[in-house]
């Protein structure tokens, strides 16, 4: 019989494995049955949690941030590249833009309540119902059950026999004969003493972005109040990297400015309620500091109020550095302005909207307000730039280098190698947070990207019908590796009298804290106000290498800790990629997110290009290179000068 020290090994061969259960994986699960239902391919979805509440949308959302409606997807490309400082994969972004509305329309069909303008109530989007827009691309929803609804559709499509919840996949295995091809994956149950080994022809790796790589601002219980979900451990990036997949723009990060401590979202407050921000002295620091953008050439990526989000952070950080913080968001004035022409009934509704915005997606912020007796219509709140996050679906663009759709005219050869959303590893696909250089997809864009990848995977599998996956590693070896933290614990636990302090192993929790300390202090975390330089990075590199070595000495006293051990291993690989990319890019492309103090300028002549890397798991070596950026969509007059500059010659 299996027990903690001796797990049962379950082996299964499928055609397609979907790793993850968030928006992208659910999109893939829903779409894939359309194309395989009649040919009988075997599909399996594996989620480390429960699909109804897994991924970044687990808590719910109060807006869908990507909906084209009346907009041209080419303008969506312009918006995304403006926000991400000029360097994106325009083919991928356009592809999301041209498909995304079909996912949003499906959500409404499945029961998601989407706000409509007056006179359009009850009219579906597909019937011409006009949504309430909080911005050009955003629409408001009652999204408490957003994920529940989307997961239900996915589960019903796929069928319960093809879903395995509470199993955490931790490693991908290459093919025995082709090191550039994926053939299998291994993971373990977080409930039972079981190891799962899957062999497949193709796989969708969609396991989210990376959270808690950096020391957060709250270090007690509040570590959990991360802006992005605390269970996103960089598994997508780490597993792909260890499998040899090329990554892109891993130097990019997102530092969201949010309501202090609770990390309540600011989108609706800025866009829908038109709230203004100010420094401690009531000054409009954005107007005041606009001039500083010119100091390092950042102004090339600002055209009036239109600028990359990082530049807004930059102006705020200037105030904090100069001692003019805290930064306030003036919620009372915003509410009062809106209430001017409203009936008492409408004002009550407005107040409810303000609270529900948080209750739908950041409940903890309501707790902070209630605990501090803050009513947003009466008292201002502080806002604050958070610790850094790595992701590819929200306002960041770290991730994997994937093939584009290919049918978009002007696509250069290095953007396209056959199957949409396939990485540089044959058979390995990704979507959502996994796809790099293509941010601002958000929930809806991630869902549709999962659908796009699903269809492409079916094409890939049909083209490789007779191919049999054979893994380059034996099941026995893999089982040893996956359960090593358990073995380490069982072997050494009685060596000392306190199980948490032992020279033979490190607890996953301490491993995480060690990683966070390195990243925070040397790789532009909050304690240096997002600044780093070549020397600091050199030290970080050395410390991270030792941390990697110690990764093999993590312990797991139970299955829960085994989960944490592997999550933190994934965080370490992801963090190392981030550090290496920042080290390689000798400019400050994203001021306000991070600064290379030894290269403070934006340097388009040399760096208006992608930075791509690959990792060799066997040698621990990284290979990093520049890859040319090709602009597809013509800049229009309203875009800033930097967008119009030629790409760097690579």
């Amino acid at each position: 019989m299996s027990h903690f020290g001796n797990p049962e090994i379950i082996e299964e061969e499928v055609d397609i494995l979907i790793i993850g259960g968030g928006m992208a994986a659910c999109g893939a699960a829903t779409e894939i049955m359309r194309w395989t239902g009649d040919i009988g391919l075997k599909i399996k979805l594996v989620d480390k949690a429960a699909m109804a509440r897994s991924g970044a949308v687990a808590m719910g959302l109060s807006a869908i941030n990507t909906y084209m409606g009346e907009n041209d997807p080419a303008d969506y490309v312009r918006y995304v590249r403006g926000d991400l400082m000029g360097i994106i994969r325009e083919d991928l972004v356009y592809d999301v833009g041209r498909h995304v509305d079909s996912s949003v329309h499906l959500f409404e069909e499945w029961g998601l309540p989407i706000w409509k303008q007056k006179g359009n109530e009850g009219k579906k989007l597909t019937e011409g119902g006009k949504p309430v827009r909080s911005g050009r691309w955003q629409i408001m929803i009652n999204g408490e059950s957003y994920k529940w609804i989307v997961a239900e559709a996915a589960k019903k499509s796929l069928g319960p026999a093809n879903i395995q919840e509470h199993v955490f996949i931790v490693r991908l295995i290459t093919d025995e004969n082709d090191p550039k091809r994926v053939a299998g994956a291994v993971g373990f149950s977080v409930r039972e003493n079981k190891i799962y080994v899957y062999k497949f022809k193709a796989c969708l790796l969609a396991a989210g972005g990376a959270v808690n790589v950096y020391r957060p601002r709250s270090v007690g219980e509040g570590i959990g109040r991360a802006w992005y979900p605390v269970w996103n451990a960089g598994s997508t990036y780490a597993m792909a990297a260890e499998c040899g997949a090329e990554m892109t723009l891993m130097e990019n990060r997102f530092v969201p400015t949010r309501f202090k401590d609770g990390y309540g979202p600011v989108g609706a407050w800025f866009l829908l309620f038109k709230a203004k921000t100010m420094n401690a002295f009531g000054e409009d620091y954005q107007a005041k500091n606009y001039g500083i953008l010119a100091d390092n050439g950042y102004d090339a990526y600002a055209a009036g109020p239109k600028m990359g989000t990082c530049l807004r952070n930059h102006m705020m950080i200037k105030e904090m550095k100069d001692g003019r913080g805290p930064i306030f968001i003036d919620t009372p004035t915003a509410m009062a302005n809106l209430a001017k022409n409203m009936t008492p009934e409408e004002i009550k509704h407005l107040e409810a909207e303000a609270w529900e915005d948080f209750l739908d997606m950041t409940i903890g912020q309501c707790g902070v307000w209630a605990g501090e007796n803050i009513e947003p219509d009466k008292e201002m709140s502080e806002i604050m730039p958070s610790e850094p996050y790595l992701l590819g679906s929200h306002a960041g663009c770290a991730g994997l280098w994937v093939s584009g759709p290919g049918d978009i005219p002007g696509t250069p050869d290095h953007y396209h190698w056959g199957y949409n959303r396939m990485t540089t590893v044959k058979g390995l696909f990704t979507a959502g947070d996994g796809v790099g250089a293509s941010g601002h997809k958000f929930s809806s864009g991630s869902h549709v990207e999962g659908r796009i990848a699903a269809k492409a995977m079916v094409q890939f599998v049909l083209d490789n019908k007779d191919w049999k996956p054979r893994m380059s590693r034996s099941t026995k070896e893999l089982a040893e590796e996956v359960y090593r933290p358990v073995k380490t614990f069982l072997k050494y636990k009685d060596y000392t009298t306190a199980i948490d302090v032992n020279p033979r192993y490190i607890t996953p929790k301490m491993y995480q804290l060690r990683l966070q300390k390195i990243m925070d202090e040397y790789v532009a975390g909050i304690s240096t106000l997002y600044q780093t330089n070549a020397k600091m990075l050199e030290i970080a590199e050395k410390k991270l290498e030792m941390l990697r070595e110690d990764g093999g000495k993590m312990r797991a006293k139970d299955l829960h800790e085994l989960l944490r051990a592997w999550e933190n291993y994934h965080r370490m690989i992801t963090a190392t990629a981030h550090m290496k990319h920042i080290q390689f890019r000798e400019e400050s492309r994203y001021p306000g997110y991070y600064y290379r103090t030894d290269f403070m300028n934006i340097d388009d002549e040399n760096w208006k290009c992608f930075v791509n890397s690959t990792y060799n798991r066997d040698t621990g070596k990284w290979t990093i290179k520049k890859v040319p950026y090709v602009q597809l969509v013509k800049p229009d007059d309203s875009e800033p000068e930097g967008i119009k500059r030629p790409a760097a010659k690579v």
């Binding site: 687990a58 499906l106 739908d360």
Partner: protein, 156 residues
């Protein structure tokens, strides 16, 4: 806001264990009731609070920044399609909000892929996804970029 469980209300059913995305709700082997084993990995997503049939789970604001004395309670009623919130401030002030969570009865408006005709080779090789182009609400198929939107030298 880490979750906590009321000793007298929890019956150890395990719904919270199943639903928690962070794997931190576990059943205590001695008390046979649920507990949060890792409060600093709690995202306060309320998934367990909403799923508990006994209303036995609540949240207490993160002790490192939220002052005591407040509460944010929730009742998610699937059959009614609503979510109700009761917010109590530290100073005793209260606020109540109700909003819809769905417009359809659960489980009915699911995709019925089997009702669609089997796809042919052409459909499989086109960039169109299921229900497209109809679901895009455009008459002319997928949106395309007109030539004048492209950079010269890239496309023509």
């Amino acid at each position: 806001m880490p979750t906590f469980v009321y000793m007298t209300r929890c019956d150890g059913c395990g719904h919270c264990v199943d639903i928690c995305p962070s794997d931190i709700m576990h059943i205590d082997k001695t008390y046979r009731r649920a507990l949060n084993i890792e409060p600093n990995m709690c995202w306060e997503c309320y998934s367990c609070v909403k799923a508990c049939p006994q209303n036995a789970i609540d949240c207490r604001g993160y002790a490192d920044f939220a002052p005591l004395g407040h509460s944010v309670r929730v009742l998610r009623e699937e059959e009614k399609g609503t979510i109700s919130w009761k917010i109590k401030f530290r100073n005793g002030h209260e606020k109540n909000f109700v909003s819809p969570i769905t417009t359809k009865p659960w489980g009915e408006a699911i995709p019925r892929l089997a009702d669609l005709p089997p796809p042919d080779e052409e459909a499989l090789n086109s960039p169109l996804l299921t229900y497209e182009p109809e679901a895009l609400k455009v008459d002319s198929g997928l949106p395309t970029i007109s030539k004048d939107q492209f950079k010269q030298g890239v496309y023509y």
